[in-house]
Symmetry: C2
């Protein structure tokens, strides 16, 4: 088995010259190089050139040049990722897919939509809603993140608890491979078992196996009604137990978000939502479907939450938005607590959420840094935020705490990333979760599909 | 790119001697060699030896010997497949997984179950039902087919329309690779995006990439109620349109089975179920969930089916079973029509089912053979049965008709196999569906994971 990926050697100036001759959008403008050197993490690395392709053919032609010169090429969407996956850490081409943002075809009867990767998640959602259709995956970045980025990272979101994640909706892909060949894979039907399921290999591969240039997504009828409610608990364990009971009863809320005490306190200071001072945890719950069904399901949930201090069902869109405001204000309000944070999207089996919280509490006290937990309790995906001041000592302590959080997560049968991906941020830690054989096999598949390691090099797997 | 898989050369007697020395279950008894030379198709080929492993270690040790001698090894479960996937067409080892049939662990809170591959689908279902849990995928063979076979083929079933297929439930796998190494892949959580999704690559790979020895499956709470109904239509198109309308309205019946006129006539002769003589098509529909929800959903479906000649809701388990008897008697009763059949599980987008039926009618008249359509209309997966007498001329005509059915299917954006798999039966046809690049990439992945082509050789991809 392969244990080390090839290093790159290339004549960069000549390659760039050829790229510019081919594609008029290619830019070495310093402003572009800076703009496309980063994502939502703090890691930066400038590309040598930025290209904005407009078709599969343009991507294919470009990749052929990159292959010839062994020039790294890092595809990216809106750059909202939390793992550094789209940072061109080895230079080369930043391949910005945002101009390939057309909706190609909507098949309302067969319930699928075909799009280019640069289309923004929320814009697709708005378009589909007008047609009474629904594409459920809703990463927090949905107002700016692209479907291509969502597919490349296997993005999740609050609705995953009922509707699943991005990969569950991918029916087909067009992918430009590392040699410039164009692969079409997938089906236009609900089922299909002809050959290996190649599309699933590209979902979540973070641009390391090919450049996605067209995407066929399953859509579902738009649920006519959504009911939103907030339950406030005096005891954290009651909130966590309610989550297990709700799902164990066969109820399928479309979101089941958890917010811990410290997050509630921060938000309260920030937006003064009138949350009770003695709240230890909150659940933000949504049901959907036909109006009467959604109401009845919410009633059943409220019965399970009977030991909550309060259970408030939003009376309309306005009240629902107010409830969501609390959830959405967490990230911004945490900054008042400490200026810096390390945000990890670990996931544990639902029945281990309480244990996780206990361990994180203990860690927080021991290292003397606030650690805030909130997120998608319905599927065990908890965003753990280690808050710290901007100095070397606290930064180092925070990093050590994250390392320990990953150990705790693995010990509790969890995964170190539920939806953000590995990129650069989690690369040093994947050995905690994946065995040697899994890593060897993954590297061997990478080498098969990208023998010269030009596609998003320096990501996912540590080189040694 | 690789275009041809390696041929095998081996010292078979020496390899078998070594296998027998290692594993006491190894048998060259002629009865065993015949028993494990076939599946539910008519294709047969004897293995050189049959082995019944009892642990992952036993499989690993065996595969190491096979790797050393380049001896083919074909894993199999109950042999209920319709594609010849488990026929040891190149001889070597028939690796019978049915003795590895233990339920290893049920986690009722995190909602997953860990099993060995030899456990029978229906037995797992019965066990889970006692725990108020549910594993939805229900291939017609569920009383005998194994979960390992279901995973290896990516099996579907009537409930796929609501609950998805086998692959949607696979959370993790233990796989013995072609060199005997043991790969553990997957998660114990609802979500996870660390590294490539290797488990998905093995689902539906039909034993060509590794031998699955442990499986972690997601389970869901058992729906407390199931409502069954049969709608009989005088016009086929009304039945097909009802399917599109039901799903377009956001209703989620758990089965939506279609039965055509000829199938109804055959079944009527066979079991005298009292079906109306003027019926052109039937739908067998089930809803599930809490009793009142399932009833209400069925009422909504009956409203959509208002131009059906009859819509009969079963009043209890007994009546429901009577309705299912019609569906389940089709295969047996078709034999009265003609002694032989070619049964293909093509799938088209739901909105193309009517068009498919028209084209199949035309073909049936043109070639002079009855072609019966029934199956999972909810997901467009129609079982098309070309009936013929047992003579060379009709056999040849039937084969040509199948070829044309595949062409029609592809033309209608469909897939030539919705749930049976490729195996040997569909191997000559995969070029109709998959492009050259997809096949090249698939073969390259196969070569990476199984360089000497010892795992179920001679399957999936034609060698030239």
């Amino acid at each position: 088995m392969l244990t080390q990926l090839k290093n790159l050697m290339t004549d960069i100036p000549k390659a760039i010259e050829e790229i510019k001759a081919l594609n008029a959008s290619a830019s070495s403008d310093p402003a572009d190089l800076i703009m496309y050197s980063l994502d939502a993490t703090k890691v930066k690395h400038k590309p040598d050139v930025v290209v904005f392709p407009q078709s599969t053919k343009e991507v294919s032609d470009l990749i052929k040049i990159c292959a010839k010169y062994k020039l790294p090429v890092t595809p990216r969407g809106a750059g909202t990722g939390f793992a550094g996956g789209s940072v061109p850490i080895k230079g080369g081409v930043a391949l910005v897919m945002t101009k390939m943002n057309r909706l190609l075809n909507l098949n309302k009867d067969a319930l699928y939509v075909e799009v280019e990767p640069g289309i923004v998640n929320g814009e697709l959602g708005a378009y589909l809603a007008k047609e009474n259709l629904f594409y459920p995956p809703d990463p927090a970045s949905l107002k700016s993140s692209t479907i291509g980025g969502n597919v490349a990272t296997g993005a999740g979101g609050p609705r995953a608890v009922k509707y699943g994640v991005t990969g569950d909706y991918v029916m087909g892909l067009t992918v430009v491979l590392a040699n410039g060949e164009v692969l079409k894979t997938g089906i236009k039907t609900e089922k299909g078992v002809v050959g290996y399921d190649l599309k699933k290999l590209f979902v979540g591969s973070e641009g390391t196996l090919g450049v996605i240039t067209e995407i066929r997504l399953k859509v579902v009828p738009l649920p006519p009604a959504v009911i939103t409610a907030t339950a406030v608990f005096e005891k954290r364990d009651d909130a966590v137990n309610a989550v297990t009971k709700i799902l164990g009863a066969g109820l399928r809320p479309r979101t089941l978000e958890y917010i811990d005490r410290t997050a509630i306190e921060c938000v309260e200071k920030f937006i003064k939502a009138g949350l009770p001072a003695n709240a230890d945890a909150m659940l933000l719950v949504e049901t959907d479907g036909r109006q009467e069904d959604a109401i009845k399901e919410m009633q059943a949930i409220s019965e399970i939450c009977k030991n909550a201090e309060s259970f408030e069902i939003a009376s309309g869109v306005k009240e629902a938005e107010a409830q969501w405001k609390t959830r959405r204000s967490i990230s911004a309000s945490l900054q008042r607590l400490r200026p810096k944070k390390l945000n990890e999207d670990i996931t544990v089996p639902r029945n281990k959420i309480s244990k996780l919280m206990e361990r994180v509490d203990e860690l927080s006290k021991r290292v003397g840094l606030p650690i805030i937990c909130f997120g998608h309790a319905g599927d065990g995906n908890i965003h753990v935020n280690v808050m710290h001041n901007d100095n070397d000592k606290e930064s180092e302590t925070a990093l050590k705490a994250v390392d320990e959080i990953f150990d705790i997560t693995i010990e509790l049968d969890g995964t170190i990333s539920g939806e953000h991906g590995v990129g650069l941020a989690k690369m040093p830690y994947i050995g905690k979760e994946l065995g040697k054989t899994a890593i060897d096999i993954s590297k061997a598949l990478k080498k098969t599909l990208d023998p010269d390691n030009i596609l998003n090099p320096g990501k996912l797997f540590p080189s040694t």
